[in-house]
């Protein structure tokens, strides 16, 4: 008998793609997608349930369908997607709590897979060059998505203690990139003139969407407990990444950049939070040896090639024009 998988946050791009990939897999019998809004295009092969993970109905669905694996993709990165920061926090943190409560009540559950972010390590001058999974953040995130993710990880750890029979895998992804995804970083690198912090050149790492989806898929099939960093090999400096885009760069002192970011966010051009400014100041690099050993998984794209694949999108657009 194959797996019965429940995917949360299925109406957003990553959630819908992982659900679709899983539905096509031989070892998966049924994929149930959950989200508050229906997906833009119907996803072939999955059963969509329009429900809020904050609603008790989710526990009923999980029990009746005898779900054995939950893939939690329902942590939203930007306030724009959720319609404001407070509702974003509500969906991310309270939503996860409710989902975990439902998971705890589902005896058939064997595996829980959580998409988190490397943002939980924070970023700053005192960081080690590369983070391993067991390191405590030196500059813990204080707001926004990374903060939500640290709280989510905290609740997930609590759940793992209460249900030791469930294999819990948490993936801390570097920033997603690729031609088929829109994130705060892709919006940033698409600005006509790219603002940076004067006197700093962050070390950046990216993970290609396809690699991210692949590791989540593997985790569904081969359960491995733990927290895993996922990133494309190597690193780019911010200045190098901007040179690769071919766009002009303007270096501003930090005290000017924060207001510029705020006005860009207000104009709806970009989600450019304080955390984002810190990220382009210091950046962050992950040690990914654990995921490589445990899952025998090496991302197909390096950080450099993932970024170039993202840039290929612009070239296609130019060709069409």
């Amino acid at each position: 008998m194959g797996r019965i998988v429940l995917v949360t946050g299925v109406s957003r791009s990553l959630g819908s793609r992982i659900a679709e990939n899983l539905a096509g897999d031989a070892g998966v019998d049924r994929v149930i997608g959950v989200d508050v809004v229906p997906p833009i295009a119907s996803i072939p092969g999955i059963d969509f349930i329009r429900a809020d993970i904050r609603n008790p109905v989710i526990a009923k669905v999980m029990g009746e369908a005898k779900v054995d694996t939950v893939v939690h993709m329902g942590v939203i990165a930007t306030p724009k997607q959720a319609g404001g920061r407070s509702s974003m926090k509500e969906i991310n943190v309270i939503g996860t709590m409710q989902l975990l409560a439902a998971c705890q009540r589902t005896p058939s559950l064997e595996g829980l897979i959580v998409k988190s972010t490397s943002g939980v390590y924070g970023c700053g001058a005192k960081d080690p060059a590369m983070f391993t999974e067991d390191m405590e953040p030196k500059h813990a995130p204080t707001a926004g998505w990374p903060k939500d993710c640290s709280e989510v990880e905290g609740y997930v750890r609590g759940f793992a203690r209460r249900r030791p029979d469930v294999t819990v895998s948490t993936f801390r992804f570097a920033n997603f990139i690729g031609s088929a995804i829109d994130t705060a970083m892709t919006a940033y690198f698409s600005l006509p003139v790219i603002p940076t912090v004067l006197g700093f050149d962050a070390r950046l790492q990216f993970v290609h969407v396809d690699d991210g989806l692949e590791i989540l898929r593997r985790a569904v099939h081969h359960r491995q407990a733990g927290i895993f960093n996922v990133a494309g090999a190597g690193a780019l400096t911010l200045s190098q990444a901007i040179r690769l885009t071919g766009r002009p760069r303007v270096a501003l002192p930090e005290f000017l950049l924060t207001p510029v970011g705020r006005s860009l966010s207000r104009a709806g051009l970009l989600d450019f939070s304080y955390e984002q400014v810190r990220f382009i100041t210091y950046g962050r690099v992950l040690d990914t040896s654990l995921v490589e050993r445990t899952f025998e998984f090496t991302p197909a794209y390096t950080t450099h090639s993932a970024f170039e694949e993202f840039l290929a999108r612009d070239e296609e657009l130019v060709d069409v024009a």
Partner: protein
């Protein structure tokens, strides 16, 4: 004037810049390709008449600029940019090394050609020229042209520009995970365990080693089983003789010290020119760590003893070199 040689510049359009760069490195003995006059040659009509060395330099600089503009270079996870370090940073400080301080090195055979080692040296001179000169010494004078990866203070990486340059030049924050990671990769790691206590000490205490941190560097070497190379640097103490320390000003600026030298701040920017003392860098006999049992790094007594041994060896080497040198400005 000999006949104009065909150079590979016109080919750069057909080669990837990195490949072209590799080719530029060994243009000499290779058979020259067929003479193709490209528009580039036409534009650089006088180019062929330049002397060989200058032409090679212009070519290399051209390739470098192309590479930098297009982002076609690689950095490692620490942010080390070998391309920039070799072509810009080292080129900028090399005249100081060769002509200003006239650095003489010895004991380079104590630095392995391929595997890792921990270079531990005394720190002095108000501004950390000693560490930069050690980096030049290992890159230029070591037969294997090793890059020195230093471990720096928090302050370095918090400071705009300085932190950026330090990362690109291959250095990282002084912390155990980074030190061990670099040593495991077989890099030459440099530490200056006296830190600001050493570099910011008054001139009257020159060549007296300060406390050697907490011995973290010894533990890192033990854990990775890499040799420790005690290194003595003579000459750096005299470049900015610090006669006083403006402590209040330092506190205001958030600096560990604010130096007053005979020329600074009295003579303004001119006072920032280092005095041209004669330098000696001696890489001493390595202290091997591979014979210690696993877990030796967790034995504080052993770590303290080894730390003292390294410190003692550097102090002795300093006295020996000082006796040998004819005068401060050699």
């Amino acid at each position: 004037m000999p006949d104009a040689q065909v150079i590979q510049m016109g080919d750069s359009g057909r080669l990837s810049p990195s490949k072209a760069a590799r080719l530029v490195g060994n243009t000499g003995p290779q058979p020259a390709p067929a003479a193709v006059r490209t528009p580039e040659h036409a534009l650089h009509g006088d180019f062929a008449s330049l002397p060989d060395s200058l032409r090679a330099f212009v070519e290399e600089a051209w390739e470098f600029v192309q590479r930098r503009r297009s982002g076609d270079y690689a950095i490692d996870e620490f942010g080390f940019d070998p391309d920039l370090t070799e072509h810009v940073f080292m080129a900028l400080v090399r005249p100081l090394y060769r002509s200003w301080f006239r650095v003489e090195t010895s004991g380079l055979e104590n630095i392995p050609a391929e595997s890792g080692a921990l270079v531990v040296a005394n720190h002095s001179g108000t501004v950390a020229f000693d560490s930069v000169m050690t980096q030049v010494a290992l890159l230029d004078d070591h037969p294997a042209h090793r890059h020195l990866r230093m471990l720096g203070a928090n302050l370095v990486f918090q400071t705009p520009f300085l932190g950026e340059i330090a990362r690109k030049a291959g250095h990282t924050l002084a912390c155990t995970p980074d030190a061990e990671r670099l040593l495991e990769r077989g890099e030459i790691v440099g530490v200056w365990p006296e830190g600001f206590k050493g570099i910011g000490k008054p001139f009257s205490e020159r060549y007296k080693l300060q406390r050697f941190g907490r011995g973290g560097f010894v533990a890192a070497a033990l854990r990775t089983k890499t040799p420790i190379v005690p290194t003595a640097i003579v000459g750096a103490e005299e470049i900015y003789p610090m006669i006083s320390n403006a402590k209040t000003l330092a506190r205001l600026l958030g600096l560990p010290y604010f130096p007053i030298t005979p020329t600074f701040p009295l003579m303004g920017p001119l006072g920032m020119v280092p005095l041209p003392s004669k330098w000696y860098i001696e890489f001493g006999d390595p202290i091997h760590t591979e014979d210690y049992p696993d877990g030796a790094a967790d034995d504080p007594m052993l770590v303290f003893n080894l730390t003292d041994q390294v410190r003692e060896q550097i102090q002795q080497a300093l006295y020996r070199l000082l006796m040998k040198r004819p005068s401060v400005f050699g």
